[in-house]
């Protein structure tokens, strides 16, 4: 054992280690400490630097720039935005199209949050009970999530076409032609079509989170419940739900974000139509900034939505935490 090692851990040292005079030992120790600190710093830089750089460049910087642009009437075609103060934020108050987009986004979000929080929970419990072909069936549910949002949206766009879509062709083939609908562009159905598209593509993800949590519930709890004569419903209510609360919270927050961020599916399928009826907040920002050349105002909308989303997410987490503690 070297002197340095002995100094670093005197208790581990052998019996015959001589103690160095205090003044003599302090300088090399400080030096070594400084060197170790520098090495840690370099390691941190190497390991975290690229991620910090990417996150800073692609998330933090655009957010800061977004705030700056929200104070301008920048169209995206010039390099010199023109400062207009808070005019964009004042315009927000009277923007009917924004409120309409908010209403539609909230409608979709409520459906999505309810389905991914509770529908996925039920599915996960059922899948957990499967006794054969467990992996295959779980895989089938997860498979659509592997596809990119754009691919799954394109697929459903073709399936939903009134004349040539597979859904209506199948209905006609089965003699149920009167049930054929314009699934994608009928104003009464389009909201559910979009929800169906999101539900189909992401159900596997949310179910998998629940399934993972279900594996962590101790078997003893089930055994004790069975001995006490509890049926499947009681087990579900008194054991599984309380134990799944952390995932339920996670899923509800994730699904809220899914709902509020609804965008790719809209771009590929309805482009906000018919009319502007399926314009979500995300699509409205794109419409304003990219199609209507109002980058400044689009930035103001995105900031307002970000603030609102943050407030909702904080409230949601606080509420669910309280519920979790109660359970």
């Amino acid at each position: 054992m070297s002197a340095a090692q002995a100094l670093a851990n005197p208790l581990a040292a052998g019996p015959a280690v001589p103690r160095l005079p205090a003044e003599e030992s302090r300088t090399p120790a400080r030096h070594r400490k400084r060197r170790a600190g520098a090495e840690d710093w370099v390691a941190s830089l190497v390991l975290c630097g690229p991620a910090v750089l990417l996150y800073g460049g692609f998330v933090v910087l655009p957010a800061v720039l977004g705030f700056a642009y929200s104070l301008t009437d920048w169209s995206g075609w010039t390099r010199t935005p023109h400062y207009i103060g808070l005019a964009n934020f004042r315009e927000l108050a009277g923007d009917e199209r924004l409120y309409s987009a908010l209403r539609f986004t909230l409608f979709e979000t409520v459906l999505i949050v309810l389905f991914f929080t509770f529908g996925a929970l039920l599915l996960a419990v059922l899948l957990d009970k499967l006794s054969c072909m467990k992996g295959l069936i779980r895989g089938l549910f997860f498979y659509p999530y592997v596809l990119s949002i754009l691919v799954s949206a394109l697929l459903l766009k073709y399936l939903a076409n009134y004349n040539d879509g597979a859904v209506n062709l199948a209905l006609r083939w089965a003699g149920l032609g009167r049930w054929a609908q314009d699934w994608m562009m009928d104003p009464q159905l389009v909201g559910y079509f979009i929800f169906g598209m999101v539900a189909w593509s992401s159900l596997g993800f949310f179910t998998t989170l629940y399934l993972a949590n279900l594996q962590t519930i101790p078997l003893e709890l089930y055994e004790a419940a069975t001995m006490d004569g509890a049926g499947p419903l009681s087990v579900f209510r008194h054991i599984q739900i309380p134990m799944l609360m952390p995932t339920l919270m996670t899923n509800s927050v994730f699904s809220l974000i899914f709902g509020i961020n609804l965008f790719g599916q809209i771009v590929v399928t309805t482009e906000g139509g018919p009319g502007y009826r399926t314009t979500t907040i995300g699509y409205y920002m794109y419409w304003l900034g990219v199609i209507n050349n109002r980058q400044g105002y689009a930035s103001a909308v995105s900031l307002a939505v970000f603030a609102a989303l943050l407030a909702v997410a904080v409230a949601q987490v606080a509420l669910l935490r309280r519920r979790q503690v109660e359970l």
């Binding site: 995206g76 075609w77 009134y162 004349n163 040539d164 314009d182 139509g273 009319g275 990219v290 209507n292």
Partner: protein, 437 residues
């Protein structure tokens, strides 16, 4: 430890040298390449034209390359904005109704009058004292007609009024034919509304003393909601979609329209002359006619011309420094007779140059050639208007064409019958669009 450091530094150095060498090579190639945007997508005729244009340029300019940036079916707005952000706008660009936005941003180089004189095309109206774009040919929009179907109800000549057209639709419908091919999902949904506004709301021959509807709207002197002609147009659009468009049309797009019409299942398609290129490329075997747009307000029928110099089909340059000369050479090579003929064949446009020596599209496919001849004859007889494609400082906000007209038609398909609500959509988007100009 040091060995690992040396190896790491060595690997990084080798990578750095490789990247530097690759970049240098790329830079030197890029310095001698003129990048050109074009909306080719899957259109074989457009691609044939580009290939000929590229070969002619590279023959004339040894050591230089012309590179295609294919914008597909898009109008390039998103692509251009992203390139502007990175300072990397291509050297020769198609501009459509984006010309003034690009010019205002300082991204376009004004073209000298001598250029227009050399190629023999009329001088476009200046924008803020300068001229920017060069049109390709004359692009017209009207009604593509399946002659056999219309002849089946005894109609062989274009209807004089909108109501006569609808009377024809009634007869076609009674005979079990689909009178109109129409899809509501994509851009093509706006065509009937665009036709109606261009031919009924706008002055057909605006002049210096007669400001266009656009100018009056921007000055706040007219609004969609208060314009009787505009109200009439929307009432007619409601009637059109209600009576002559089948259930499910809202989920159809341009491809479905093409399929139906070329498959002989529809009697009328409101679409621009460029469909002639598809008829040639796809060897569509139909006897076709091309009719002018009948009026709703008692005016004579006519075509809409959308290749007015400053907008519509327009190309220009953004090149600077030594590349400008070569970019101008690209523009001039466009008018090489062989290249220009292929352009007309692909787009089914008509010549506007006094020096090109080429007149109209040519095709080996008889139905396509007959259509080209018919188009030219009808154009000569009925004439055209520019509608709202007047000048760069006299254009509606781009959002109207890019989006709003389509949205209004979709609203009608979705069941909205409240004309005031539809007029408000138009006014709201115009006001919003103006803020982005």
């Amino acid at each position: 430890m040091w060995t690992k450091v040396f190896i790491g530094v060595g690997v990084l150095a080798v990578l750095g040298v490789a990247v530097w060498a690759f970049r240098s090579e790329g830079d030197s190639a890029a310095e001698r390449t003129i990048r050109v945007t074009r909306n080719i997508g899957g259109r074989a005729g457009f691609k044939r034209h580009f290939d000929a244009w590229q070969s002619a340029f590279e023959r004339k300019n040894p050591g230089w390359k012309m590179e295609l940036i294919d914008l597909g079916n898009a109008n390039g707005a998103e692509y251009y904005k992203s390139r502007i952000a990175t300072g990397d706008l291509p050297d020769v660009v198609m501009t459509w109704q984006l010309t003034n936005l690009l010019a205002d941003g300082g991204h376009l180089v004004p073209l000298p009058d001598s250029y227009y004189e050399r190629i023999g095309i009329p001088l476009p109206a200046p924008y803020k004292g300068k001229r920017y774009t060069s049109q390709g040919g004359m692009q017209i929009q009207g009604l593509l007609i399946n002659k056999k179907m219309w002849a089946g109800i005894g109609v062989t000549e274009p209807p004089g009024t909108w109501d006569e057209l609808l009377a024809g639709f009634d007869k076609l419908k009674a005979k079990g034919c689909k009178p109109l091919v129409y899809g509501g999902r994509e851009w093509s949904a706006f065509e009937p509304l665009f036709y109606a506004i261009a031919t009924n709301v706008y002055e057909r021959e605006p002049g210096p003393g007669k400001p266009s509807w656009t100018i009056l709207r921007n000055q706040g002197k007219v609004r969609f909601a208060a314009d009787p002609a505009m109200r009439l147009v929307l009432e007619k659009m409601i009637q059109l979609l209600d009576k002559y468009v089948d259930k499910g049309a809202a989920s159809d797009g341009y491809n479905e329209e093409q399929k139906l019409f070329y498959g002989g299942q529809g009697a009328t398609w409101m679409m621009g002359c460029w469909i002639g290129g598809d008829i040639d490329a796809n060897k569509v075997d139909l006897d076709l006619d091309y009719w002018p747009i009948p009026s709703m307000t008692g005016k004579p029928p006519l075509f809409v011309e959308t290749s007015g110099m400053p907008s519509g089909w327009a190309i220009t340059t953004s090149a600077a420094g030594p590349k400008l000369e070569k970019a101008m050479s690209v523009l001039e090579t466009f008018w090489d007779p062989d290249v220009f003929q292929l352009f007309l064949n692909g787009e089914y446009q008509f010549n506007v140059s006094s020096r090109s020596g080429v007149k109209q599209p040519k095709s080996d496919w008889p139905p396509a050639q007959r259509l080209a001849d018919t188009m030219l004859a009808r154009l000569a007889r009925y004439g055209s208007t520019r509608g709202f494609h007047i000048a760069l400082d006299d254009m509606p906000p781009p959002i109207m064409m890019d989006n709003t007209f389509k949205a209004v038609m979709q609203e009608i398909l979705a069941g909205t019958r409240d004309v005031d609500k539809l007029l408000k959509m138009l006014d709201d988007d115009w006001d919003s669009g103006l803020k982005g100009m």
